[in-house]
Structure formats: structure tokens, C-alpha cells
């Protein structure tokens, strides 16, 4: 798994292998755990059973040895009672029985004190084996008062047979011994006080060997404990005969072990566990049926599971090898199966670069991979086809777009875009915008001045795009041409309507507002063909009162009604198309007439341009980035008022006396125009000089010649023109005189032009068709 992790993100095959192996590992672990748990239980049961069997077998073996001893004692007892009158025969009996039963170490029949008067206080014939010889002797003596020894005393007092605690045979080396003692009663039943004890000594070396050879698991062992819990056999020899299980428990400070010892004394057999020297051990014990000794097997609990561990280890190793093989095989298979995917990916990369005819990996199988192959192949063909058509469409579209661009330029060039359009006309100021929703739009505006009349229109062709733009162009052209001949607004409208209605197969129409403003009088006649009413601002702002009539192109012969109104100075108009009022925001809320009215009302109409720009900003604020759906067109017009005109002239004869007439003429003009007297005086002076020049130099001594002096007020300029038909004379050519020279030394006339230049702002001379024209301009 550790190897897999870095590969995890690398490839699909690695991932598949990883998942499959992970699943395998999980399955394995689960089965291993199930196996382990069930095996553990089985092993426990088996081990317990085995321990029990081994112990019982040992018990049986021990019994096979001990029960003959019991039988022998009983036999001896019976025989003894038969020959009770012959004490010496009893002595012989011990010898014979010891001789006939080599498994016994010694045998005695010990009688109560002074049982046979002739035999003294102690009568206890005893035969024992020493180095394959049998020695018969009397046990009892002053030095060995057997009456007080356990083997005699205990059965004598308890009245029942007794297996002595094990002891070391002091005579025959260190052999571990035990003695079976059987009390003898006079009667058949065990009644009254026994009169003698039959004693048989047996060596325990066979038991020691037998038990020591017992092995349970790895370090398990068997032990034999006496009735008092003394260790008769134990792998630790120091314990044998020195320790009881109780003293050992006390030494180990292990109360549990003491309780186990007590159980051994009280129960026939049992299974207990205890922690001995830091290891949890299982103890199986059983008591010998013939004595109160206990055989116990002790083994560490952990060793029960030792075989399981090795099996588990083998299993794990096998599995790890299996997993390794499995991972190699799966990875091979998966890689082989998924190999075309990589090739497909490479092919797609090449396709993405535009090469649709790249070769796909060959698939021989008829599976999902084949399906993928076919799908790729089909995709290749379709892509190829699609890209071809797309290329064509794109080039076509580009062509159209470029044509549209040109069309837009043409369309835009149709409408006047120079502002202010008539700088010389102080009466009006105007500004207009047209923002098409598409490349080309159906809105239009136009204006021009003919014979002091301003013709202006704003209109909206139904629909959008090229058809509308074409109709717009037509409408504009018709307006220009028709208004050349017709001056009546209704007539122009009717003309337009008639022209547009004819051959209107596409049923398109145009809403249009036409105004004709007489700049000299301030009178405006207008006609509305279904267009939005413009806004007018005088003291207040309001929608124009208009007769709607019908849009153009709908009904040929419709009678349009025109309207007229007299404009005051500083009247303002705002003409617009529904692209403004119907401008939508994302919530599809319209800009609306109300807001338009309010906005215009709240705006200081500094100039038409400022109004339109501010309004456009407000509209943009409203739509808030929503796509423009319709053309937006506005035309703002400011009528400042009718311009005043002043024009006068006087004819003078070529005589110096005529100067007085000129003075009157200037003074009258000054009065009429309300000029200051100082200015009038200066003007008088300049004109006297100019006329004097003509008299002196243009008409030298020709009194019947005429001099015409005219004065014109153009806006703020007061223009004086002096014309004569004399010899060419350009006073402006004279240098400025040296005014520092004494008057007598100055050249004649030079002072005149100097004076004129001082008074007037502009002085020009021109000779037109043999006439001298001398013009002087004075800014007021």
C-alpha cells in the first residue's frame, strides 16, 4: 500500500489497482480476524482439553502405581490378621512381601506399644531394600518412637488410611519417598482403635520423572503438590519439599495463588488462571483419587496462541506475496486494457490542434473501448465537417460585418454630426446623437436651413437592422428632396407618406416629427407622424401638444395636420425616439416618459450638448449595463430669439460740404442704435476722414461723382462701408504717419487712415468691379 500511495494520483490504472488491492486487504483483514477469533477459541478449548487429558493421563499412571500399593497393604493387613498369633510370621510376611514386590522400598507392620508382651514395647517388623538387598529389622526403639510419627499416628488417630507427606529417605540417599499407612482393626469393620499400622514405603522418583517429563506448550510444566500444598515435583528444584504453594504465594505476595492452592485442596479438579511472575498462566489441576495429592499443569496463556501466531504469520506472508502478485497482474491487465485511452488522449490533443485526420488507435475488441473509438471517429468526421462549415460561415459573417461597418459609416455620414451646425446663426444652438442598437439603426434625425428657415426632423423606422436603416436612408433623402420644393410642414409630411407608402411591400412604417422654424420670426410650424411628442421647456417643461396623425408609410393619401406655434426667446426642445423612454434595465423596467420629464425639468439647460450628455448618462444609470435593445436618438434645440437688423445708407456728392450730411447721418444712426455720444463723435471723425479721402484722392475735383456710405448692424458689429467709383485708391496702404513731426511737415492724408485705425476695430479695402469698397468694422 505504501508503494501505491505515491502512484495514487498518477493514473487510472494505478487507482484501479489501489482500490482493488485495498478491497482485497480489507477482505483479508476481516477474514483474518474471523479466522483468528474462531481459531483462538478453538485453540483455547483444544489446549484446555489437552491439558486436562495430559493431567488425567498422569493421574491414571500415578494411580496405576499407587493402587497396587494400597492393594498390597490391604493384602498384608489381611494376612497379618490371619497370623496375629505368630508375630514372627508377621516379620516373615514383611520380608516376603518386600521381596515379591520390587516396586516397594520397604514395608512394616507396626503394633501398638507392648502389643506382644514377649516382643517388648516396640514391635514393628520392617523389611527394606538397600542396594538390592533386603534388610529386616525392628523399626521402633528408644530413638525411634514410631507411635509419634505421622505415618503411624495420623491413621491411628483418624482411623483411615494415609498417604504421608513426601519426605527424603534419610537412609537411602536423597530419594523422595512417601508412605502408605493402613490401620488394622480387630474386626472386619473399622471400629474401635486400630491395633497396628501396615506401612509401605514407595519411592517417588517414578512420579518425579513422569511429571517432569510432562510438557505443555512451550514452557508449560506439571507439578505435584502434597495434601499440605508442598511441592513434590517442580521444575524449580528449590521449591521441592521446601515450599508449599501457600508459602510460595506468601513469598510472591500473591493472594490469588494462595486461593488457587486452597481450591486444589477442596475441589477435585479445576481450571484457573493466575498471574505468576508477571505472566498470565493457566492452571489445570486434579486431585489423585487415592491420596489428597494434586497434579497441576501450568502454562502461560499466551502460549496457547503460539501456533496461531505462526499460522497467522504464514497467512500474512502468503497474502502479502499474493497481494504483490495480484497488484502486478491487475496493474498489467488494467494497463493493457486502458492503453488505448492514452492513445485516444494523444489523438485528441492532436485533434485539438486542428489535425482532424489523425489516426486513432486500433481496437480489436468489441467493448466500451470500441464504442469510444467509434465515438471518437464519428467526432473526428463531424468536427471536420463542422469546422469547414464554421470557417465558411465565419468568413461570410466577417464579410457581412465589414459591409455592415461600411453601411454604418454611410448611414452615420447621412446625418449631420458637426456641432454647432450653424455657428453663424446666433438664433439657435442645437445638438443631436444617434446611438444604434446594432451596427445600423432605423432612427434618424436631420436638419438644415433654407431661406432663414430651419427644417428639422427626428424619426424612427419600424424594425431594426438593415431594412430599417435602408428605409431610414430613404426617408432622410426624401425629406431633403421634398422640403426643397414644399415649405408647408403638412405638405412635406404628406409627400413623404405618399412616397413611403407606395410599394411598401414589407409593410414598414416610420414615425417622424417635422419642424420648420422661421428664424426671422420665431414662428414654428410642425407636423407629427405618430412620433413621441418632444419636450418643450420655456418657463416650465412639458410634452409638446401634438396631433399624433399616423406614422408614415401606412396609409397613402392620409391627410396630415400641421400645427403652429410662436416661440419665445430661449425656448428649448428635446426630440427623442422611443429608444430613450423604452430603455430597459435588467429588471425590464422602462426609463419612461415620467422620468424623462423629471430629469429634463431638473436640469439647467446650459446647452443642448450638455443636456443630451447628462440625459444619456441618466439613461445609462437606469439600464445599468443591460443590453441596449433599441436605437437611441435625441435632438436638442435652443431657440435664443429673433435677431435684430439695422441697415442704412446715404448718398453723398463729391463735395466737401456734403460732410455735414454725413455728420447728421451718423448722429441719427447713433440715436437709433442708442450709442453713446462719445462713440458717435469718434465714428463721425473716422467716417469724415474716410469720405475726405475719397473726395480728395478718388475723385480729384469731380463734383458730380457720388459717394455711398452705408451702415449695417450685424449682431454686435457696426459695419460701415464707403463705396465710390473713383480711381483705385487704397487708403490702407498708407503708412502710419510720424505723429511726432510738426503738422506742416507731415505728408497729406496720412493722418486720416491712422485716425480710422485708432477708432475702428477692423479696416479693409477691396476694389470690386471698378468700385472702391472701404469697410470699417466697429465692435460694440
Amino acid at each position: 500500500m505504501i508503494i501505491m500511495v505515491p502512484m495514487f494520483n498518477k493514473s487510472l490504472s494505478s487507482r484501479i489497482v489501489f482500490y482493488v488491492l485495498s478491497l482485497c486487504v480489507v477482505l483479508f483483514l476481516i477474514s483474518l480476524m474471523v479466522f483468528y477469533a474462531s481459531s483462538k477459541q478453538q485453540l483455547e478449548e483444544m489446549t484446555y482439553q489437552y491439558a486436562e487429558e495430559v493431567t488425567q493421563k498422569t493421574v491414571l499412571q500415578t494411580e496405576q502405581f499407587l493402587s497396587p500399593v494400597v492393594k498390597l497393604a490391604e493384602q498384608a493387613g489381611w494376612l497379618c490378621k490371619q497370623m496375629l498369633n505368630q508375630p514372627d510370621s508377621i516379620t516373615m510376611l514383611t520380608l516376603k512381601m518386600a521381596a515379591n514386590n520390587p516396586e516397594i522400598k520397604g514395608m512394616a507392620v507396626a503394633f501398638e506399644p507392648s502389643f506382644y508382651s514377649q516382643k517388648g514395647y516396640y514391635f514393628s517388623p520392617y523389611t527394606y531394600r538397600q542396594d538390592d538387598r533386603l534388610i529386616t529389622m525392628q523399626l521402633g526403639s528408644e530413638n525411634y518412637e514410631y507411635f509419634y510419627i505421622d505415618w503411624y499416628q495420623i491413621p491411628m488417630h483418624t482411623g483411615s488410611a494415609y498417604w504421608s507427606e513426601p519426605y527424603y529417605d534419610t537412609g537411602g540417599g536423597d530419594a523422595l519417598m512417601t508412605t502408605y499407612s493402613l490401620p488394622l482393626y480387630r474386626g472386619a469393620a473399622a471400629e474401635g482403635k486400630p491395633f497396628a499400622i501396615v506401612k509401605i514405603d514407595v519411592a517417588l522418583d517414578w512420579l518425579t520423572e513422569n511429571v517432569s517429563s510432562l510438557k505443555i506448550l512451550e514452557t508449560g510444566y506439571a507439578t505435584v503438590l502434597s495434601g499440605n500444598g508442598i511441592f513434590v515435583t517442580h521444575p524449580n528444584e528449590a521449591l521441592i519439599m521446601n515450599q508449599s504453594i501457600f508459602s510460595y504465594a506468601s513469598e510472591l505476595n500473591n493472594a490469588e495463588l494462595r486461593e488457587i492452592g486452597r481450591s486444589m485442596q477442596r475441589k477435585k479438579s479445576g481450571f484457573v488462571s493466575s498471574t505468576l511472575k508477571g505472566v498470565e498462566r493457566m492452571i489445570y489441576f486434579t486431585r489423585l483419587p487415592s491420596s489428597d495429592w494434586t497434579i497441576a499443569v501450568i502454562f502461560p496463556k499466551s502460549e496457547i496462541y503460539l501456533p496461531l501466531r505462526s499460522i497467522t504469520l504464514i497467512l500474512v506472508v502468503v497474502l502479502l506475496v499474493g497481494l504483490a502478485l495480484l497488484s502486478i497482474i491487475i496493474s498489467r491487465i488494467v494497463k493493457q486494457q486502458l492503453n488505448p485511452l492514452g492513445k485516444f488522449a494523444a489523438a485528441v490533443h492532436i485533434i485539438a490542434e486542428g489535425n482532424f485526420n489523425v489516426a486513432l488507435p486500433g481496437i480489436k475488441t468489441n467493448d466500451e473501448m470500441k464504442g469510444l473509438h467509434d465515438a471518437f471517429e464519428s467526432m473526428q468526421h463531424k468536427l471536420d465537417h463542422y469546422i469547414r462549415s464554421l470557417t465558411e460561415t465565419t468568413s461570410l459573417k466577417e464579410k457581412i460585418e465589414s459591409e455592415l461597418r461600411i453601411a454604418r459609416e454611410i448611414q452615420m455620414s447621412m446625418i449631420p454630426k458637426t456641432f454647432p451646425p450653424f455657428p453663424s446663426r446666433k438664433e439657435i444652438d442645437q445638438f443631436a446623437v444617434l446611438i444604434p442598437a446594432r451596427e445600423v439603426g432605423g432612427d434618424l434625425y436631420d436638419y438644415y436651413i433654407n431661406e432663414n428657415k430651419l427644417y428639422f426632423i427626428i424619426g424612427d423606422v419600424s424594425g431594426k437592422g438593415i431594412p430599417s436603416s435602408l428605409l431610414m436612408a430613404v426617408t432622410r433623402s426624401l425629406f431633403r428632396s421634398i422640403s426643397q420644393y414644399l415649405t408647408d410642414a403638412a405638405a412635406i409630411m404628406s409627400g413623404l407618406n405618399s412616397m413611403l407608402a407606395q410599394n411598401n411591400d414589407s409593410n414598414m412604417f416610420v414615425t417622424l416629427f417635422l419642424g420648420i422654424l422661421d428664424l426671422e420670426t420665431g414662428n414654428m410650424s410642425y407636423c407629427n407622424a405618430g412620433h413621441n411628442p418632444p419636450l418643450i421647456t420655456t418657463d416650465t417643461t412639458r410634452f409638446f401638444p401634438v396631433i399624433p396623425n399616423l406614422p408614415l408609410g401606412i396609409m397613402d393619401g392620409f391627410e396630415f395636420k400641421k400645427q403652429e406655434m410662436q416661440l419665445n426667446d430661449n425656448t428649448r426642445f428635446l426630440l427623442y425616439t422611443d429608444g430613450i423612454t423604452e430603455a430597459e434595465n435588467v429588471q425590464q423596467q422602462l426609463y419612461g416618459d415620467e422620468r424623462l420629464l423629471q430629469f429634463v425639468e431638473g436640469t439647467t439647460f446650459e446647452s443642448p450638448q450638455a443636456l443630451i450628455e447628462a440625459l444619456l448618462e441618466d439613461v445609462q444609470l437606469h439600464v445599468d449595463g443591460a443590453e441596449q435593445s433599441d436605437d437611441m436618438t435625441m435632438l436638442a434645440l435652443l431657440f435664443k430669439g429673433v435677431q435684430q437688423k439695422y441697415e442704412k445708407s446715404i448718398k453723398l456728392k463729391n463735395e466737401i460740404e456734403q460732410i455735414a450730411l454725413l455728420q447728421d447721418f451718423i448722429e441719427v444712426t447713433g440715436e437709433e442704435l442708442g450709442l453713446e455720444s462719445s462713440l458717435v463723435m469718434k465714428l463721425n471723425l473716422a467716417l469724415e476722414e474716410a469720405v475726405s479721402n475719397v473726395i480728395l484722392y478718388a475723385y480729384p475735383r469731380l463734383p458730380d461723382k457720388e459717394i455711398i456710405v452705408s451702415v449695417t448692424l450685424k449682431t454686435n458689429d457696426l459695419i460701415f462701408t464707403v463705396t465710390d467709383t473713383g480711381v483705385p485708391f487704397d487708403p490702407t496702404l498708407n503708412e502710419n504717419p510720424d505723429i511726432h513731426l510738426p503738422a506742416t511737415e507731415r505728408p497729406v492724408g496720412g493722418l486720416g487712415i491712422f485716425l480710422i485705425r485708432q477708432i475702428m476695430n477692423e479696416v479693409t479695402y477691396s476694389r470690386i468691379h471698378d468700385i472702391n469698397v472701404f469697410t470699417m468694422k466697429k465692435r460694440l
Partner: protein, 332 residues
Amino acid sequence: MNILLLNTHLKYITMIAIVVQTCCTGLSAQVPELTFMPHWLPQAQFAGYYVAEAKGYYKHEGLSVRIVHPTASSTQSPTLKLATGEVDMISLFLVSALSERARGVELVNIAQVSQHSGLLFVTKKNSQINSLEQLEGKKIGIWKSGFDEIPKALINSRNIKVNWTPILSSVNMFTLGGIDAMTVMWYNEYDQIINAGYNPDELTTFFFSDYDYDIPEDGLYCLNETIQKRPVDLRKFVNASMKGWEYAREHPEEAIDIVLGVMKKAHVATNYAHQKWMLTKVLQLMETEEPQQKGVLNKALFEKAQQALLIENRIQNPVRYSDFYKPVRVHK
């Protein structure tokens, strides 16, 4: 070579030989020997002496002490060995010593090691014997080898008739139900019963000390003539022995190891736990209220013990305290 010269040579040689011999005798005489026999097989009951020997306290006092033990089956008592001069010193229970004295062995107490009685009767709780009086007619185990005086005196003092059953040494008669009660030593047999699988709460105990029979036990004895001949050696022995006991009290673990070593050498079966119990209890029995009481035979208790023996008819004539108790140790 002339005879004279030879004679002269012989003279020298003889002189040298005499000098050497005298020196050697003199040297050996500087390390007096003492043979000490505890009154039972080696066990922690005698730990102080083994410790004194092992730690070199005897040697340090300039003594060469030989510790010998009686054997389990021997009928020759330590007193007999003392009387025959086989051993110089023995340890003995006070009552045993008084009995022996009455029998004519001229032994004297030179130090009373134990100060209290370690005796008690034990019964099994399930025998329903809850008072001494309930022992009436019951079989009571008692050591055959002696030391039966006080138990009998106690029982007789209460006019209880019991069936005394002599026993050599094991507790098996008791554990296997051969007898109803058993006379045991607190520091020895009682623990053997515990180590045979009986829990203390399954036993009923009758401590003699609770019945006004707190008669001190182990003491050191020698013949009267020895104390007159070798008072210095005896004093040295007692001092070194008491030092050994003190060391054992302060280092019980080490003392038990020493005891176990001695026991192993003597092929006596035992175990650590039992010897530890024994040492602890023996040391408790040695405790006195006053430090100067250590090793001293309390006169009142002496009289009490003698009284018991007289009543029990074990002795006919009382011995004088001062004749019996001749401490060799100088108490400050």
C-alpha cells in the same frame, strides 16, 4: 664431630622446639573455642547467632564459636550434651531449663533472650471451640519432646480435662483432623498451618500471654562451672550474639538469607516466607519495654514459671533466682 658438640646442637634444637611449641600453644590459646547448641534444628528462631557468626562478631570478640544442632530424630537432648560437656552453651526454654535444673543438671541462665511467650492453642473455627473451657475432653497436640509444662499448667490451672496427644513436630495431625487442637509456637507451627492452606480467619487462637502465662522462653545456658571458669568468653559470646540479633532486626532480609544458608547446609526443608515470619515474630518476642531489660530474666516471670512447674509437679524444690540467673553481660 664430637659428642659434646652434638649435645650442644641437640640442646639448641630442643630449645628452639620448645620455643616454637610454646609460641604455637600460646597463639592457639589466644582464640578460645566455644561450642553452642541451639535447642532445635536451624531456623530463624536462632537467627541472631547465625548472623553473629556470619558477620564475624564472635571472631571480632576473639572467640571461635562452633554452632551445632540437634537432629530431628535424636533422643539426646541439648541438655544432655551440655551435661556431658559435649557443648559449652545451649539455648533452652526457661521452663525446660528449670526442669533440667531440678533433675540435677547444674545449668545456669546467663542471658534471657526471649521476653515473652510465643505459645498458643489453635483450633479450627469450624470445631466451634471458642474458649479454653470448650477444650474439655478434646485431643490437644503437644510436643512429645518437651516444653509441655506451661500448656499443661495453663489448662490445669483452669481445671480443664483434655486429652493430650504427643506429637513429634509436624502439624499434619492437626490439619488432617487427627486432633482437635494443637499447641503451637506463634513463630513456627502457627505459620506452618497457614502454609498448609488454612487461612487465619479459619482458625481460633488462644495466646498464653492473654491468659496470664506470658512466660519468657529462649535463654542461653551453660553449666555453673563454665561460668566460673570462662566468664569472659561467655560474656563475649552473649555480647556478640545480642549484636547479631540487633543486626538481624535492622537487616531482616540479609538475616533470613543467612538463616536459609545454614538451613540448606543442614538439609532442613524450609522456605523464605516461613523464616521471614519466624524472624519477625521471634524479634517481637524479644522486645522489652525498657532497653536495659534486654537479655534480663525477669524475676517475677521466673517465679511464675517455677510456680507452674511446682504445681505441675515437674519440680519438687524451687531454685533460687540468683542461683539460676547469672548474667554475664554487664548492663549499663
